[in-house]
């Protein structure tokens, strides 16, 4: 009996250890799946002299519908010259920075050129992970004057330039043209009064049609800052978080008001507003340019316009920007020259990227006839007032509590002021370290 008991103990301990590992494979499948997906197309770039072409490794997070458009650009670049061969790797969007962090630490199979969001550049630069590209740009004939000022200023730290912008993706307004026609609305709203009037006209509760469905999770990360800035508030006042100011709370209460009025259904879960938009039950959506191809495929009769100025103070819109950045560890002269060559090519040949729905940051492209013919060229008008995430180290960590508490406020679980105060307390705890 004793022998059976001790064998059972050993068996159970072994099984527990195995299960502790294995159960990770079950409930943690998201991480497992995406790691194996992303690593498939990596190759070593140590054979630089194969066929005489210098090999370059380029990482991007474009795992959505926009990936193939960038691939076209890379392919045409490779076909257009004989000296360099750019290998293009797409990592899953949600895992991109985790994998980038690991790859930058690893130094083998580390990318030569990366896409980095503008608001990440200060953090990575402060850890010495990026190199200044002033020399590389000069050698390749790329000048700051060729690009929209806002992202250039953001990416210039201590007088040195760290990121070349590819695009600027601000929040935009998508609207259902059929529903607008049916409600007799002839021009898109441009301010709060027009917006409030339009959404009431568009809402038809009997038919299950809503004027504007308020999202409670993503993409509030773009919507909330836009509204706060438009209303004269700030997210960060230079020293401390400022998103619990009366101006910010007023905007949350405005959104909550739309739900109370019935213009939006309540209890919208993740992606609920997008599903209803695709079904033609939601007339207006605020989202990013990356959604365009999804709407094209769904065959919706939709239009794109700048976000109306809901706030009372000034026009403003939150944007992100994809930038090209070069990791610190890339020192080979040949590779650097190749990167410069590729970037020069992209600044005049990125129409493919525009066709994915993005608005380009390169001035020659913005002024070209082909770009102006695309529907999102209207978005470029907002570039004069686009703002990016506060230029504070660790902003993602500091701002993290906002979204959970905003979710509480929009679901009606907490009054808006209390929610933002709670979030501010948590942010301050995060900074306090």
């Amino acid at each position: 009996m004793r022998k059976k008991g001790s064998m059972l103990v050993t068996l159970i301990i072994m099984v527990t250890l195995i299960a502790a590992g294995c159960s990770g494979g079950n409930t943690n499948n998201t991480t497992n799946d995406s790691t194996s997906q992303g690593n498939k197309s990596q190759s070593s770039n140590s054979e630089n002299t194969k066929k005489g072409k210098t090999k370059l490794l380029f990482w991007s997070p474009f795992s959505g519908a926009d990936g193939p458009f960038m691939k076209n650009i890379v392919d045409s670049y490779n076909a257009s010259q004989d000296q360099y061969s750019m290998e293009f790797v797409i990592q899953p969007n949600g895992e991109y920075y985790k994998m980038l962090d690991v790859a930058l630490n690893a130094s083998k199979d580390s990318p030569d050129l990366v896409i980095m969001h503008l608001d990440q550049i200060p953090t990575y630069q402060s850890k010495g992970q990026l190199q200044a590209i002033d020399d590389l740009a000069a050698n390749a004939g790329i000048s700051k004057a060729d690009y929209v000022e806002a992202p250039i200023d953001y990416a210039t730290i201590d007088g040195k330039w760290y990121g070349i912008p590819l695009d600027i993706h601000p929040l935009v307004m998508y609207y259902n043209k059929d529903l607008f026609e049916k409600a007799g609305i002839t021009s898109v709203p441009t301010n709060r009064a027009e917006f409030d009037a339009a959404v009431e006209k568009l809402t038809d509760q009997q038919a299950g049609v809503y004027g504007y469905v308020v999202p409670t999770l993503w993409p509030q990360q773009f919507i909330f800052p836009t509204l706060v800035w438009q209303n004269g508030g700030e997210l960060w006042d230079g020293d401390n978080v400022a998103y619990n100011s009366p101006e910010a709370v007023e905007m949350i209460e405005w959104m909550r008001g739309l739900i109370d009025k019935g213009v939006s259904p309540s209890n919208v879960q993740q992606d609920g507003e997008n599903t209803l938009f695709l079904q033609g039950k939601n007339a207006i959506q605020f989202n990013g340019p990356w959604m365009k191809s999804q709407f094209d495929e769904a065959g919706l009769n939709f239009g794109v316009a700048p976000v109306p100025q809901i706030g009372k103070a000034k026009p403003a819109v939150f944007g992100g920007s994809h930038n090209f950045a070069i990791p610190q560890g890339v020192t080979d002269e040949d590779i650097l020259a190749g990167i410069g060559d590729f970037l020069k090519y992209v600044s005049s040949n990125s129409l493919d990227w525009a066709e994915s729905g993005q608005a380009l940051a390169s001035k020659p492209m913005l002024e070209s006839a082909e770009f102006k013919a695309l529907p999102q060229s209207a978005i470029a008008e907002s570039f004069s007032y686009v703002q990016f995430a506060p230029n504070v180290l660790n902003w993602p960590t500091i701002s993290e509590p906002i979204w959970g508490e905003l979710n509480n406020a929009l679901l009606g679980n907490k009054p808006a002021q209390q929610a933002m105060d709670d979030a501010a307390a948590k942010s301050q705890q995060a900074i306090g370290k």
Binding site: A20, T30, G208, L276, P396
Partner: protein, 298 residues
């Protein structure tokens, strides 16, 4: 018969591949993780100074950032474990018994049906259940409205968010428990049941006095593995509710991963993971003691 050298070598060779994999993929990462947790390991820094137990101390310091991150997450995870583990065991056993009671032609078919969800990836599971639970466009609420009921805020209301997570978890993972229990049930000798019938026992008595005691070791196995799997939950709350409403379903693993890769504090996050592992081990030991404790007298 004393094992010969030859048979010892050949049996060691059989065990070798697994031992190598175990060492590389389980033993080494666990030890390295513990090593990292003793350092100030910021993902993007070049230097990682040794800090001893200060990562652990920070987690237990009241009002520190790590403290709230860890214990709020732990509370959400514990709630999930308490709600899900009993259901996973009972439902697993119930489905196993139902499937076993089917005529043999249908048995294989239904085993497959119930097991298929287990083979799906997390993303597929999330897409399916987001469509089911969508408050306005979802299948469940459409059905409810057709039957004259009210829409339920499946993913945004309390306690509905928990209900949805449990339903999804049961659908996704019950197949595993069911298969284990089917095997266990098949090993209960038929004669026991026949003898009991002759003595006039009811089905319920047969279940309590024959089935349960005989499958006790398997029951313990299922209890421990289900607890471990529930503690490790990540995909369902992250993909379905994003930790919402507010942060009520923000389970521990979501917080640990955020801490590691958004805040980039891998050292501190490793300490949290080690503490979480210790908690799971202690709970498993308690479960073992409770199930077998009475037999210790032998």
């Amino acid at each position: 018969m004393k094992p010969t050298l030859k048979s010892r070598i050949s049996s060691s060779l059989f065990a070798l591949p697994y031992t190598l994999c175990f060492a590389a993929f389980l033993l080494f990462p666990i030890c390295y993780g513990f090593y990292i947790s003793l350092h100030d390991f910021e993902l993007l820094s070049k230097e990682h100074p040794f800090v001893g137990l200060s990562n652990y101390i920070a987690i237990f310091t009241p009002n520190s950032y790590e403290n709230s991150l860890f214990f709020r997450g732990l509370w959400a995870t514990i709630q999930f474990v308490i709600f899900s583990v009993p259901l996973l065991i009972i439902a697993g056993l119930a489905i196993a018994m139902l499937v076993n009671a089917l005529p043999s032609k249908l048995r294989g078919l239904f085993r497959t049906f119930y097991f298929i969800p287990y083979a799906l990836s997390a993303s597929v599971m999330a897409v399916i259940w987001l469509m089911m639970f969508d408050t306005n466009a979802g299948f469940l609420n459409s059905m409810l409205q057709k039957l004259g009921g009210q829409s339920i805020p499946w993913l945004t209301g309390t306690p509905w968010a928990w209900v949805s997570l449990i339903i999804t978890t049961l659908w996704w993972t019950i197949g595993f428990n069911m298969i284990i229990f089917i095997n266990a049930l098949n090993q209960v000798p038929e004669d026991y049941y026949e003898a009991a019938s002759i003595d006039g026992a009811s089905s319920w008595s047969k279940f309590i006095y024959i089935t349960l005691p005989t499958i006790r070791p398997v029951m313990l196995f299922v209890m421990i593995t289900s607890t471990i799997a529930s503690f490790n939950i990540y995909a369902q709350p992250f993909l379905l509710t994003r930790g919402g409403p507010g942060d009520t379903t923000r389970v521990l693993l979501i917080n640990v991963l955020d801490h590691a890769f958004i805040r980039k504090e891998v050292g501190s996050a490793s300490a949290m993971a080690i503490i979480m592992a210790l908690i799971i081990i202690i709970i498993s030991l308690v479960q073992y003691r409770l199930t077998y404790g009475r037999k210790e007298g032998n």
